[in-house]
């Protein structure tokens, strides 16, 4: 056995010793840390939705009230929500930054070794032969990779535990505020609809009378075919056609209000769903890091694409 070991190249003997040393169970975090990028994507998509929905609600409030007072109040309060969701996204990015930093230790050790070789070259210090440097770098990479994972897991546990309360509070509050904003949109839609109906009320009533008169002729049955009734129907049809253009304008205006408010409410609903799911995904990630098991939170955060589509549709209107 010893002869066999001596026959191994020097670098493999060093590596073997290191791997044996590393076979001793480490306290925690030996496996790769779970990827948190889905959490980051979700937070930024919520941020985009909260910002866009806020801008759309502000625009509706400006339509509602000429002096813009309600719009200004809303914009001021909503800016706090946008900043809070941005804070969540930045925090998620920092979590992912630690995960990524722990996962690329070997590359960084190799880069650092390159830098040290450059330094030695500049200083005119003779470096050991390339093979020795390579094996030392590789060995250092393996050891530091484990050390870094443990350090990263500890860092994440220390940050994510206390952060859970802040995450829970912010997400619950934002979800509640999105529901409140949805109610503001419902009130604005009702107001816009009422104003349109009242502005066009007389014309719509006139048109309804024409339609009622037509139905009355048809209710006559066979006598409806008599020349006098046919002439009456033609007269009523002409009146309907004459009011058709104005009626279309009215219906288009109503439809525009409906489409705008519906798209805002869809974005708000999607954002509220995603923001409500966020603390749970954060807690799952934290538990997975603490227990050293893998986790796929991408499925839990699958609303990202839906939110992007809804935001785009709302912006297109």
């Amino acid at each position: 056995m010893n002869r066999l070991l001596r026959a191994l190249p020097h670098r493999w003997r060093i590596l073997r010793c290191l791997l044996l040393a590393l076979a001793v169970p480490l306290p925690t975090g030996c496996g790769a840390l779970p990827d948190a990028s889905a959490l980051v994507d979700s937070a930024w998509s919520i941020h985009a939705a909260v910002r866009s929905a806020g801008a759309a609600v502000e625009a509706e409030l400006r339509r509602y009230e000429e002096d813009g007072e309600a719009a200004r109040r809303f914009a001021g309060e909503w800016a706090v929500r946008i900043d809070s969701v941005k804070g969540i996204a930045e925090y998620a990015g920092a979590v992912q930054g630690v995960v990524e930093a722990s996962g690329r230790t070997r590359e960084r050790i190799a880069a650092l070794a390159g830098g040290i070789s450059g330094l030695a070259g500049a200083a005119g210090i003779a470096m050991p032969p390339a093979g020795i440097v390579a094996v030392t770098t590789e060995a250092a990479g393996i050891v530091l990779e484990q050390v870094n994972r443990i350090r990263a897991a500890k860092s994440l546990e220390e940050a994510m535990g206390p952060a859970q309360e802040a995450v829970g509070f912010i997400c619950a509050r934002i979800a509640a505020d999105l529901r409140t904003t949805d109610e503001i949109v419902q009130l604005l839609e009702a107001d816009a609809r009422s104003r349109l109906q009242l502005r066009w009320g007389d014309e719509q009533a006139y048109r309804q009378q024409i339609e009622e008169a037509r139905r009355a002729v048809f209710r006559l049955g066979a006598p409806a075919l008599e020349p006098a009734n046919q002439a009456r129907l033609r007269e009523l049809d002409d009146l309907l056609a004459a009011t058709g253009e104005r009626h279309t304008l009215y219906e288009d205006a109503l439809r525009a209000v409906e489409e705008r408010t519906r798209s805002i409410r869809e974005v708000i609903a999607a954002a509220a769903g995603a923001v409500e799911a966020w603390p749970s995904a954060h807690a799952q990630l934290r538990a997975a890091i603490a227990s050293g098991r893998s986790l796929n939170i991408a499925a839990a955060m699958s609303t990202v694409v839906e939110i992007r589509d809804l935001v785009q549709r709302m912006r297109d209107l």
């Binding site: 509602y64 309600a70 109040r73 809303f74 309060e77 706090v80 929500r81 900043d83 809070s84 804070g87 969540i88 930045e90 925090y91 920092a94 979590v95 930054g97 630690v98 930093a101 690329r104 230790t105 960084r108 050790i109 880069a111 830098g115 040290i116 450059g118 330094l119 500049a122 200083a123 870094n148 350090r151 990263a152 860092s155 994440l156 220390e158 940050a159 206390p162 952060a163 309360e165 802040a166 995450v167 509070f169 912010i170 509050r173 934002i174 509640a176 505020d177 409140t180 904003t181 109610e183 503001i184 419902q186 009130l187 604005l188 009702a190 009422s194 109906q197 009242l198 009320g201 009533a205």
Partner: protein, 168 residues
């Protein structure tokens, strides 16, 4: 199908109906459910659409109904804006806490990336290169050049010292 508008006749009939609606609107509790406000808005709108004939008296009733309708909506919006304002301070406080956690994580990530060691090595390498340049200059170049290179050397050494002295 009967509606609440059936059987209302004349100005007095419509006035009585409006008084009843105004009473209900005034009795709406603060923070009334949005559906309650929407329903009251609908009824006050319908009043204006259905009240007949369009005499001055009726138009006057319509104007009162419209003012009440607008107030129902405005109160609903104001209540909700106040609700948003109430939560802002706590949100800002928790967001600040979260940013502190993020800053701490970012510092840890920098440490995990060996950024400080990288910078120290880079700084040391630059220092040595500058010293070598200076030595070369001493051999042959003009005095101006020597001054410039000395300044560069001092800067590089300062950078290196600050890199080493900076806490992790």
């Amino acid at each position: 199908m009967s509606t609440e508008w059936d059987g209302i006749e004349g100005v007095e009939g419509w006035r009585a109906k409006l008084e009843s609606l105004l009473g209900e609107a005034e009795a709406l509790p603060a923070n009334a459910n949005v559906q309650t406000r929407l329903k009251m808005n609908r009824r006050l709108t319908d009043f204006q659409l259905r009240s007949t004939p369009n005499s001055d008296d009726i138009l006057e009733l319509d104007a009162i109904a419209e003012a009440a309708r607008a107030a129902v909506i405005k109160a609903g919006i104001d209540e909700r804006l106040e609700g948003l304002a109430e939560g802002s301070a706590a949100l800002a406080r928790f967001t600040k806490q979260l940013r502190q956690r993020a800053a701490s994580l970012e510092a840890d990530a920098r440490s995990l990336r060996f950024e400080r060691a990288d910078k120290a090595v880079q700084s040391l390498t630059d220092t040595i290169r500058t010293v070598r340049d200076l030595i070369d200059t001493l051999d042959a170049a003009a005095e101006d050049d020597l001054v410039k290179k000395s300044e560069r050397l001092i800067t590089t050494l300062q950078n290196f010292r600050s890199e080493i002295e900076r806490p992790a």
